[in-house]
């Protein structure tokens, strides 16, 4: 369904591009703008846990400070839209909370009104798009540097550059639309005029992607008496509502917090707009009084418009700023985060807490549930399915023959299949831990360790995935072979653990089978490293690829070891297996001796 929709959108866009060059420009502008958002986010992420968090924490730890931050930024950048876009990025990167974000929006709403003063007072319009090119150049230059922070700065600059470039493209493509908006032809009086011009203000700002552009048009029109002063006021209100669309577009590429902030921006500006529309006469009178006090001439409609712009944004702040927390609650209610279908614990009910034995058994069963999910993630990372483990097919062939790109997202898999269950197990063990006797406590402690091994195995798989995805399509066949070997050895190990599990049910000396698996892990590691050394020596692979392979073979070793340790605790739970069989098991030194003997043969 999703793919079909994508195809329809692509076809529609292609048709639009064929029809109109302006449409092509607008679409490109939106795309560049969204790409800028992604770049900004990536840049801010480079600073998480460091300087930026501290600066932001200090400058946004109270609502008033956030307000000040927003006011200053919007005054300097001369665009409330841009400030809200950046704030959406901050929020998406987790550097800000929604309360601080809304505070910044309030501040930027007031900060942007300085632009009207500049336009009206100095006839100056700050063209932010001219900054795009140097920002892009400096940004890309920084991205090519080695330091993490420099790269971060590079992404931020490039992101800003793309944002401005995107707006520039949109504006350029709408140039002929702009020329058709001749305000003098549409002067209207009364409530009808008020509502119509508010709508015109909204639409014009959405189209031009800049409330400054609308302000410029309005101030020019009113100064040459093309439109009435009342219509101009409505246009300013409309521009203030329309400017929120920038943040809304930006929120398409953001997470739910970003979307909530865009929602907050719309909510604040819309409510303020409606409020001011209701009391437009009172506001008009207030502007006259303030203008007189500021020494603005009665005939200077442009300056009066700037005063109005500041006044009504200030009114919005006075009315809505004290209710930031209520706004957050409201937004969280209407914009609910869609979570993936997260796996929930199956066995950790409150009734299981009644007896120590039931606690231990339910934790064990839940841990097996976690084990199954961990196996799912690991097997999918290598492009296989759990069913492949039970089939008689050669795993080696399945891996080698699969040349399709594998894009399994381990982070999503972890969130969905592991995190919830793992947290529930840990919480369950900690709740129960205080009341029991030693035997149960020890068992729970082992189970906790087993869970930890599983999580470790997934983390190691994530590390390994990076190079596995990269090198399996390498031009060097030896590299491909070694990476396929790593994947094969891991999934085969999982299959062998499944056999071991089956051996427990059939009483096929499971405890003794473990020794062979332990020896195999050591042996594989030894062999793998030897092969890599040979490949480097014979110059079949580069030393760089060799070092990656050595690291990844260490990940493989740890994955196998962690899985086996978890399986040992989870599946060998019955004391019945530990009797006489235990006398025949080999200790570490004996296993090492076997491995060395095998190696020397």
């Amino acid at each position: 369904m999703h793919k079909a929709l994508l195809l329809i959108v692509i076809l529609l866009l292609s048709y639009g591009f064929w029809l109109s060059d302006a449409f092509k420009g607008i679409a490109a502008g939106v795309s560049i703008f969204l790409f800028g958002m992604l770049s900004l986010e990536q840049g801010f992420k480079a600073f998480t846990g460091g300087v930026l968090e501290r600066i932001l924490q200090k400058t946004t730890d109270t609502s008033w400070k956030s307000f000040g931050f927003g006011f200053l930024s919007a005054t300097l950048m001369q665009s409330s839209g841009l400030v809200s876009v950046i704030t959406v990025s901050f929020l998406s990167a987790g550097l800000l909370d929604l309360v601080a974000g809304i505070g910044i929006i309030f501040g930027s709403n007031l900060g942007t009104t300085t632009g009207a003063w500049l336009i009206a007072g100095l006839g100056l319009k700050v063209n932010i798009a001219t900054y795009a090119m140097p920002l892009l150049v400096f940004g890309v230059l920084c991205i090519f540097q080695n330091g993490k922070q420099l790269k971060g700065i590079g992404y931020i600059l490039t992101g800003l550059g793309f944002l401005l470039l995107g707006i520039h493209y949109m504006k350029d493509s709408f140039e002929h639309f702009e020329s058709t908006i001749n305000l003098a032809n549409y002067a209207m009086a009364g409530v009808r005029g008020l509502l119509t011009y508010t709508a015109v203000g909204i639409i014009a700002t959405i189209i031009m992607q800049s409330s400054h552009a609308t302000m410029l048009l309005t101030i020019t029109a009113v100064s040459v008496h093309q439109i009435t002063y009342d219509n101009a006021l409505a246009l300013v209100i409309g521009a203030n509502i329309g400017t929120t669309v920038t943040a809304i577009i930006a929120s398409f590429g953001a997470n739910i917090q970003g979307k909530r902030l865009a929602g907050a921006h719309l909510l604040i500006n819309l409510c303020t707009g409606i409020f001011v529309l209701f009391f437009i006469k009172e506001f008009s009178i207030a502007v006259d009084i303030i203008s007189v006090n500021l020494g603005i001439a009665v005939s200077d409609k442009a300056m009066k418009l700037a005063t109005f712009h500041s006044l009504f944004n200030l009114a919005g702040i006075v009315i809505f700023f004290p209710f930031i927390n209520q706004q957050v609650i409201f937004l969280e209610k209407i914009l609910i985060e869609k979570r993936p279908d997260i796996f929930k614990p199956k066995y950790l009910g409150s009734s299981a807490m009644d007896f120590p034995e039931t606690v231990v058994e339910s934790v064990r069963l839940e841990s097996i549930h976690l084990y199954e999910n961990a196996i799912h993630i690991i097997v999918h990372t290598f492009g296989l399915h759990k069913q492949d483990l039970t089939k008689n097919d050669s795993l080696k062939q399945l891996i080698e023959q699969n040349t399709q790109p594998i894009e399994y997202d381990i982070d999503v898999g972890y969130e969905k299949r592991i995190k919830g269950i793992y947290s529930a197990i840990i919480a369950f063990i900690s709740q129960a831990g205080f009341t029991w006797e030693m035997a149960q406590s020890a068992k729970l402690s082992w189970l906790r360790e087993a869970n930890k091994h599983l999580v470790e195995a997934i983390k190691e798989t994530k590390h390994l995935q990076k190079n596995w995805t990269r090198f399996r399509t390498s031009n060097n066949q030896d590299t491909i072979n070694e990476y396929n070997k790593i994947a094969y050895q891991i999934v085969l190990h999982i299959r062998q653990i499944e056999h071991f599990r089956q051996g427990i049910e059939d009483n096929e000396l499971p405890l003794l089978s473990l020794d062979a698996l332990k020896a195999s892990i050591k042996n594989d590691d030894l062999q793998m490293n030897r092969v890599i050394e040979t490949l480097i020596r014979e110059q079949k692979i580069t030393p760089e690829t060799g070092s990656s392979l050595i690291n990844d073979s260490a990940y493989m070793y740890n994955i196998k070891k962690n899985l086996l340790k978890a399986a040992e605790t989870l599946f060998l739970h019955s004391a019945g297996h530990a009797g006489i069989e235990h006398q025949l098991t080999l200790n570490e030194a004996e296993i090492n001796h076997v491995v060395q003997t095998m190696d020397s043969q």
């Binding site: 003794l512 042996n523 006489i580 006398q583 080999l586 076997v594």
Partner: protein
């Protein structure tokens, strides 16, 4: 003389500790037998496979079983000696 031998056997039969030792020996023998069977099964699998990695794995498994059996036979001999000593 025959009665003495019979009495000795009866005493041994009713002696719980002795019975345990005997059970232990029997179970150990069973495990050794299972290991032997497993060894045969893996040897067969080793002959069947063309996969070099699996071959290596089976060889390791066989070597482990060999050491485990050796260990088991030593334990068995010790148990038998101890039983005879009683």
């Amino acid at each position: 003389m025959r009665i003495e031998k019979l009495l000795h056997k009866l005493r041994a039969f009713f002696d719980g500790d002795n019975r345990k030792k005997r059970q232990h020996i029997e179970e150990l023998k069973k495990i050794l037998l299972k290991l032997k069977k497993k060894e045969r099964k893996i040897t067969h699998a080793l002959q069947q496979t063309d996969d070099e990695y699996l071959k290596k794995h089976y060889q390791t498994e066989l070597e482990i079983i060999r050491v485990q059996r050796k260990k088991g036979i030593e334990v068995l001999q010790q148990l038998k000696e101890r039983k005879q000593g009683d």
